[in-house]
Symmetry: C2
Subunit: 244 residues, 2 copies
């Protein structure tokens, strides 16, 4: 096989992938359509079948096509169900907006985990660090945060001063985690939140709850409350900017 004179071009696999993706995204191939069999594509591109396979495999993983033995590969039906959500660290969010970030620590204490299912899940009889804080952007209240940290999972957190670096940012940098679950909802501000955020009681707020694990060990649980409009979450489904 002749070696192509590639000069800074994407790999052949990538070009095949992009070509097929373009056909699908442009609508030239509609959901349910069968795409050419792999050996045909290999002939088209003058390459080995494996090269084509790598491309179609990637498309299948991305959910754009479905590959079926004996039947062929087909353009998949789009599904709206999954999108990528960006959930950045609050300090990073604020500074990314070009605003000054401050945190007020409202309370900070150690205690034993209670017997609520919530806290048993987190620390199962161990000690907890419980921290309330207020995040500020340019001095104005940005988010109220209530956090529990399992000292069983992160004993060194007991000695850290979170009055400058918020606990979330510290944890992000010091405790590798492997799994996270987020829950997003809305709630009316209770008295505590209303006071902290300087809004009226009952006013609508966006709530983001996050649990974080390292393997089986539950690291932290946090509930962040944003005044309506202060913070929107954005999720996307579609072409990735990279590799195009």
């Amino acid at each position: 096989m002749i070696t192509k004179a590639r000069v800074n071009t994407p790999s052949l696999t990538q070009r095949i992938r992009n070509d097929l993706e373009e056909k699908i995204r442009s609508g030239a191939w509609r959901p349910g359509d069968r795409i050419p069999v792999e050996h045909e594509l290999a002939a088209t591109y003058g390459c080995a079948r494996m090269t084509v396979t790598r491309a179609t495999e990637a498309l299948a993983e991305a959910g754009l096509i479905v590959r079926r033995k004996r039947a062929g590969s087909f353009v998949a039906e789009p599904r709206i169900e999954s999108a990528v959500l960006d959930i950045p660290d609050i300090r990073a969010t604020v500074t990314a907006q070009g605003k000054r970030y401050d945190v007020d620590q409202l309370s900070h204490r150690q205690r034993m985990a209670s017997e609520t299912s919530e806290e048993r899940l987190l620390a199962a009889g161990g000690r907890l660090l419980e921290i309330d804080c207020l995040h500020r952007a340019d001095g104005r209240p940005f988010a109220f945060e209530h956090r529990l940290i399992s000292l069983k999972a992160v004993p060194e957190a007991a000695d850290v001063d979170f009055s400058e670096t918020p606990a979330g940012s510290w944890l992000l940098g010091h405790v590798p985690w492997t799994e996270a679950e987020h829950r997003i909802g809305a709630v009316g501000a209770d008295d505590k939140i209303a006071e902290a955020l300087a809004i009226e009681r009952g006013e609508a707020c966006l709530v983001l709850e996050r649990r974080t694990w390292r393997g089986d060990a539950h690291i932290t649980w946090v509930r962040q409350v944003f005044p309506a409009g202060a913070y929107d979450l954005v999720a996307r489904f579609g072409p990735k900017p990279e590799t195009r």
Copy 2:
């Protein structure tokens, strides 16, 4: 090379991937650690280097490792920023909860797109279909929906009866889309929403806005309002249930 007697086991590539992933997720390998070079892994598993490459490639795509020429492959620093968000169709959500689904169409009209940037983006001088509806679960208000559909992009929508099948479900089944953007926030109910959802004015609601495209053509814009607590969005980061 000896062909292994595989009996319904995952592929070798998959097993290598799982092994490495396990090492990372368990914490045996920490972020920043270098993982064995590919030819070593190939020797370990008694396979060709390409087989190992396929596994490490997949891990790199999943963001678990970073591969650097000449330097080696390293366990990546976890990033909390992206998580997969499930945003199902409302009808599907309700029926999945085992509840009866109904939709009340509150209004339905055609008009020209106005000159707001919003609507210019959607239909650029063309006709719009504007639909308000109320989704119900077991008869109780579940979500208020305000939707605009570009008749330029979806002319056949003009003749569809959305009083039984909600527009969202119809579009999902009839108009393949390729890109979507979601925005999630909180808002206090205005009079219209409060009445539709049978809640108090000002009560906190979760808002989900979604824009959908097919290639460059903007298909629809929709704003769905859920009473606080009625509906939470869940996003995950971590091991996929599949292929393990």
